[in-house]
């Protein structure tokens, strides 16, 4: 397993243009598979348009203490991109004036941003209904300065959404690095101890599952039941919901698909599983993604492909919700990942 990001390895796929070429050529250019645009055109959903803005997803930086095999952000300890306090302030100005009800902080490991706690404290005063922090769990055990994160989350009633690839050590460590499983288990227990994830608790703790290889996630409810039983039986851990997320064919997962000669089969699987009903609720229709340097994107995946919003307003400093809502969402073949089967979003299935 690699210990550096694609960028640090000077991997060809660190170049987003190269990723776009791969996604646009081959099986899609020769007509073996229909392009996503043509697919949604069949159901009169082209162009894809935003609905009411509900979620602001803010990426606080690409720095992370882990180097997960399938990370679509290409995050890692070597990534230095981090949101400044000035950009955070611009985000806060927007949070105060938008009617979006959910704030979703992600990374990298968002907690590694030195101004993370200040930002959470300021943003939590803004009356956001659901305040999500996407935590990789191990950060809570990475260093003493993070040990009190569960208490900090509790104090601000943060909704913790944590990655947990599998209930077994082998599969988790294979995807996320040696020792990740044990640290994640310890972190979950710490979150439980302060009241997170317990039945009836309003301290929400949800887990995110994404497949460990070139296959799609199974039924979300069945997986949730399996996770709940195994984590309870083996470690006395409780959590609320499991979100099953499909790996999108970009960045490190695209690199893996190509290196393992699974790319074409995987794209066939996505296209075969295409579900028009999922298009209606893909996350880009109610979410806006803001990068560490303040650029605006339709979703986290478009951010990683450097596909800025198709609008006159492209940066948080010039935010104008009315203008932003009047745009066409940028799509490409990777969007099949969000519309396969029951669909996929940062909140799990959508159809």
């Amino acid at each position: 397993m690699a210990t550096k990001s694609l960028k640090a390895r000077n991997n060809d796929l660190a170049n987003t243009q190269r990723q776009m070429e791969i996604l646009s050529n081959g099986i899609f250019a020769d007509g073996e598979l229909p392009t996503f645009a043509n697919k949604i055109k069949e159901t009169n959903q082209l162009p894809l348009r935003p609905k009411k803005l509900e979620i602001l997803q803010i990426n606080l930086g690409y720095m992370c203490n882990q180097v997960c095999a399938h990370c679509h952000v290409d995050a890692g300890p070597d990534r230095k991109e981090i949101m400044t306090i000035e950009t955070m302030q611009q985000c806060l100005d927007v949070i105060k004036k938008t009617e979006a009800h959910t704030l979703d902080l992600t990374g990298g490991a968002p907690e590694m941003n030195p101004n993370f706690r200040w930002f959470v404290e300021e943003a939590s005063k803004a009356g956001i209904k659901d305040f999500i922090v996407r935590s990789n769990l191990t950060i809570i055990r990475a260093n003493k300065k993070y040990y009190d994160l569960p208490e900090f989350f509790k104090k601000h009633n943060v909704h913790v959404v944590s990655s947990m690839p599998h209930w077994t050590r082998g599969k988790t460590d294979k995807q996320r690095g040696d020792g990740v499983f044990d640290k994640s288990i310890k972190a979950l227990q710490m979150l439980n101890e302060v009241g997170y994830g317990m039945e009836g608790s309003n301290l929400k703790l949800d887990l995110v599952y994404n497949p460990s290889g070139a296959f799609l996630p199974g039924d979300q409810m069945a997986l949730e039941n399996d996770f709940k039983k195994a984590l309870k039986d083996d470690f006395n851990i409780d959590f609320h919901s499991l979100f099953a997320i499909t790996n999108l064919p970009i960045s490190r997962f695209l690199d893996y698909l190509i290196a393992s000669e699974n790319y074409e089969d995987y794209m066939h699987s996505l296209v075969d599983a295409y579900n028009p009903a999922a298009v209606e609720n893909v996350m880009c229709t109610n979410t806006l993604s803001i990068s560490w340097d303040g650029w605006l994107y339709d979703c986290d995946f478009n951010q990683m492909l450097n596909l800025k919003v198709n609008s006159k307003v492209k940066h948080i400093s010039e935010y104008n919700e009315e203008l932003l809502q009047d745009r066409n969402i940028i799509i490409n073949q990777h969007c099949y990942g969000c519309t396969a089967g029951a669909g996929s979003s940062c909140q799990g299935v959508v159809a």
């Binding site: 599998h166 209930w167 077994t168 082998g170 599969k171 599952y209 497949p211 460990s212 290889g213 296959f215 799609l216 996630p217 199974g218 039924d219 069945a222 997986l223 399996d226 089969d265 066939h268 075969d272």
Partner: protein, 111 residues
């Protein structure tokens, strides 16, 4: 790549068998779909049975399909291998139990 009897890409064409006999093909797929619906057995249990049978039938397409299906359902590799051993045990048991027939015949002929 040299030509082989089995091409993994042919699995994706399975649905096309209806093109040469729509009625029977559709009846098969309706039946097949119904069999794998959640019932008295869970979909996960059915997937493991299918994986074991895929091996005893030595169907490479079925092995590919139900290995992937098992992974999607979160089934571990240890569970998958155990299911295959169940299939293998039945297969070898089925061979060996016919040894009784052989023994009966020997006893009758060579009393």
């Amino acid at each position: 790549m040299s030509k082989t009897y089995y091409d993994p890409a042919d699995l994706r064409k399975f649905g096309k068998i209806t093109e040469w006999n729509e009625e029977l093909g559709n009846k098969f797929f309706d039946y097949y779909g119904k069999v794998f619906e959640e019932g008295a057995l869970t979909a996960r249990e059915k997937s493991l049975i299918a994986l074991a049978v895929a091996h005893t039938e030595q169907c490479p397409y079925c092995i590919d399909a139900y290995t992937k299906d098992s992974l999607q359902r979160g089934i571990t590799k240890e569970q998958m291998m155990e299911a295959i051993h169940v299939g293998a045990a039945i297969k070898s048991g089925a061979t060996l139990v016919h040894g009784v027939q052989m023994m009966n015949k020997v006893n009758k002929l060579d009393g």
